[in-house]
Amino acid sequence: MIPVNIVTGFLGSGKTTLLREILSRPEFSDTAVIVNEFGEVGLDHILLEEVEEGVLLMDSGCLCCTIRSDLKDTLRDLHDRAARGDIPRFRRVVVETTGLADPAPIVSTIAAEPVIRNHYRIGNIICTVEAVAGASTLAHQAEAVKQASVADRILITKCDLSDEAGIEALEARLHALNPAAAVLRSEGHDFDADFLFAEDMGDAERRAAEVARWLERASTRPQHDHLHDSHTNSFVLTYPEPIDWTAFGVWLTALLHAHGERVLRVKGILNVRDSDTPVVIHGVQHVVHPPLHLPHWPDADRSSRIIFITRDIDEAAIRNSLSVFLSAVAPLGNGEVAA
């Protein structure tokens, strides 16, 4: 399965600089980058040749193409061309969103399309936020809040242009907005490519470390007054007792059917009945990735911890709903167990 990373971020947030770095770095030699326009990235000095119509090969070995009619066709076409040998094979895809775009539909496209989901999987969503104007953008642009909310990694760019106090305030705000995402700094060309792009839930070796990072970040998140946004809420539900996995699944699917647009992100670790090891869930709006079993607990705490980022749904409503539903199904027990 080829991981697809989504690079999102508001206009002027440094996405193009990040993409240009990806296209020129040798560690991305096996990557195909899908950009909105060749022109905006400025490929002239790193371009090697056009290997196929609309597909450019960089000096680094990285491929670059633009979105054709839509992302589905582009992903299918890239895979087909690589399988036929028309273009070099690639092991990672990076998709650029436009500055005003919501990244969630891209996740949905990859998760829902049967052909695509057989070849590709969702990797980390990376959001760039500019150090100087980022706070103001988050305060005034709902799209920017959405982009940061659904991200797995947030890269604060242009840190050399801001002072330390400003960056720390922005970090606190992003931490409150998206408690589970790792927030990193960049001054232009420097970033940890492996951590940004490769360390994700699809990597079985490093999955437990990623979950441990979510939980540690979520447990140290600043309080809501850092959000400056009365619409977006982030919170953690904790359940010390084991949860019935099926009941949780039924409840979450019903919640996402009715309110998926407003449940921006849900991720967490569940202590489920019948299992000594935890189950990890993560989703973006209506899309919930297949649950994963961890081989061991990432810390000493055995409680279920579920991180929500919601828009115009408050914590009490979600907490009450799940608690009431779990207690309503409790008399059903674990169901019939085979002899």
């Binding site: 039924v250 699917t253 059917h257 189950v279 869930i281 649950p291 994963l292 979600i318 709903s321 207690s327």
Partner: protein, 109 residues
């Protein structure tokens, strides 16, 4: 990863089991028992709407309303879309009236 995770490509995530060894190795619960338990939990959620699901040949579910309308769906996620089609409105887990009408909750404050 348990035996059902990712099986056949398009298995909805709710169709996976909590138990890492479910349906493989020393399985403790049969597929039929798992699906029966799942249907019982969905029926708890549907009780306030006077609707029901039942497992159909361990491959899909039949959703039926109190008026006799019914629809076959593939998985739990699809139940909610079918409920919305049959009654004209989705189940809303955040609706206090739905929560209050769940079995065992009638009369609870």
């Amino acid at each position: 990863m348990c035996g059902l995770c990712g099986l056949l490509g398009v298995v909805h995530w709710t169709e996976t089991s909590a138990h890492p060894d479910a349906f493989t190795g020393d399985a403790r619960r049969t597929i039929r028992a798992e699906r029966s338990h799942r249907a019982a939990i969905v029926n708890t959620a549907l009780a306030p709407l006077r609707m029901k699901v039942k497992d159909f040949q361990a491959s899909s579910y039949i959703l039926s309303s109190a008026t006799g309308r019914s629809e076959i769906v593939d998985d739990i996620q699809a139940v909610w879309g079918a409920v919305e089609r049959l009654r004209g409105a989705p189940v809303d887990p955040l609706d206090p009236e739905w929560l209050a009408a769940l079995p065992g909750r009638e009369g609870a404050s």
